[in-house]
Symmetry: C2
Subunit: 289 residues, 2 copies
């Protein structure tokens, strides 16, 4: 399978009509993508964000490719009504299943979380053994393997689905002996196969980063695609000349949050992981887009 | 709050046009309701079943009441196209949030899993302290408490959300020290409050029944709403005179399975818990109903 490994695909986009101070649209199947939004806030403090969490249809990890493409298309239609200048797919499943299909027809730049994470993993590995932990759907898509092999066919990619990690992160059991025991069980076979690099291939997993690091030890480099995606987004906006110019805007007005269901639950999780308090989360009917 | 505690609400239904050999429609947000279907297969072997698992929109536990009512309505519309004579809501969240609303306009009998489970818990408790374990949404609906209190206001109802149990059951870690540790943590406060009865208020939990029983000990009676619902369904069909008459039908043709997404994944789970192998699972677009 041939995979496009351009860090971002900006093709022959005409960006002359794009307002550089317009917001970046970020979406995920639910709350997990907030770890990506958080990195963008930290690394690109001038950028406004419109975040959409598809809480009515979460999780994407168990859904088919066609369904994930259709859902992603609806969300991009919604984000475009908010005048976004670029899109970040902050969801590994949607990045794996929908990005290539969606970017064909899109007239603004778009980036997913898989290519930035895979690229850094290839740069980091010394012994050419990279572990990938993710949801079942992301693993089954083989997208991380395909991108890594497009860089270097001789790299051994060792995947492992870790479905319990999402619930453990959402429970807030991020420094817990039970989570430690689950991580030891999930990661044992990757350690036995001597990986030196491990990709946290699900947006919830950075919340367990410290604990996973303790389990695998210092010799294994952890790659956080959320972090790498924010860096990659900055490079993409710069290279297109559409990075936001700071105008000392009121910070509280810079971030907008939309969900497709149950805003209250989203708010609690968001406020447990974001560096500031958010209150105003709007619920929309995503099936109308 | 006043709650109707009739075991089933058969009002003034006109059943004269109902074919007693028509199938029973059973639905759940996903695979969990198979524990209810399994009990119906065991206890009512003459009944045909059309099962629908809303795998495209699972889980319901994090969705709002309006959304769960809308989804349930679509599913009932679909099941009616299959000529079902009665409906079983094999989903605690939908039973809690949607049953009362939906049965108002329905022209066939319907039953949920909460009332049968609550009724038996009231009959079983001696010290009037009943624990309820379920998803966050079922707990927050207060439906088990409301029904139990409608029987006996003096009963103390002690609820506890156990979100990890679903993932643990789906991982198949049903006899596992990690699951045991999680169960001990979740159930500790209920044990300290001296419950003598515990309702397994989520359709996945009967898969952990043995382990939960070991954690809480023999003095605590476990109530399995899946089991009680099958009994209650049999009584409802008998009292309406529409129980199926056995005609030595071919067993393999008695059960039909439909899902809204990813039939393969459903099949694997179904075959791990059902007493026979199923192959033919059809995927439909539930949003068309």
């Amino acid at each position: 399978m041939s995979v496009n490994i351009d860090e971002f695909n900006i093709r022959n986009l005409d960006v002359s009509g794009i307002d550089r101070n317009a917001p970046v649209g970020v979406f995920d199947s639910g709350v997990g993508g907030l770890t990506v939004a958080r990195e963008i806030m930290r690394q690109l403090p001038n950028e406004m964000i419109v975040y959409f969490g598809d809480t009515a249809r979460v999780p994407y990890g168990t859904k088919s490719k066609d369904t994930v493409i259709r859902y992603s298309g609806q969300i991009i239609n919604f984000l475009k009504t908010k005048g976004v200048k670029a899109i970040v797919i902050a969801c590994n499943t949607a990045s794996a299943l929908a990005l290539d299909e969606i970017e064909k027809d899109l007239d603004i730049p778009i980036i997913g979380v898989i290519k930035p994470g895979a690229k850094v993993a290839v740069e980091e590995t010394r012994n050419k053994k990279i572990g990938i932990i993710a949801t079942e759907a992301t693993i089954n898509s083989h997208m991380y393997s395909d991108v890594i092999h497009a860089y270097d066919e001789s790299i051994e990619v060792l995947p492992k689905a870790c479905p319990l990690f999402v619930s453990l992160a959402e429970e807030g059991w991020t420094k817990d002996p039970i989570t430690y025991a689950v991580a030891e069980r999930y990661l044992k076979e990757l350690q036995e196969k001597d990986i030196d690099t491990l990709v946290l291939g699900c947006t919830h997993y950075p919340l367990l980063r410290k604990l996973i690091g303790e389990v695998v030890g210092e010799k294994v480099t952890l790659v956080n695609p959320a972090y790498e995606t924010a860096i990659s987004l900055g490079r993409m906006l710069d290279s297109l000349g559409i990075s936001a110019v700071s105008e000392d805007r009121y910070r509280g007005g810079m971030y907008d949050f939309y969900v497709s269901d149950a805003a209250e639950r989203f708010k609690n999780f968001a406020n447990s992981i974001l560096p500031f308090h958010i209150d105003n989360i709007k619920q929309i009917n995503i099936e109308e887009y």
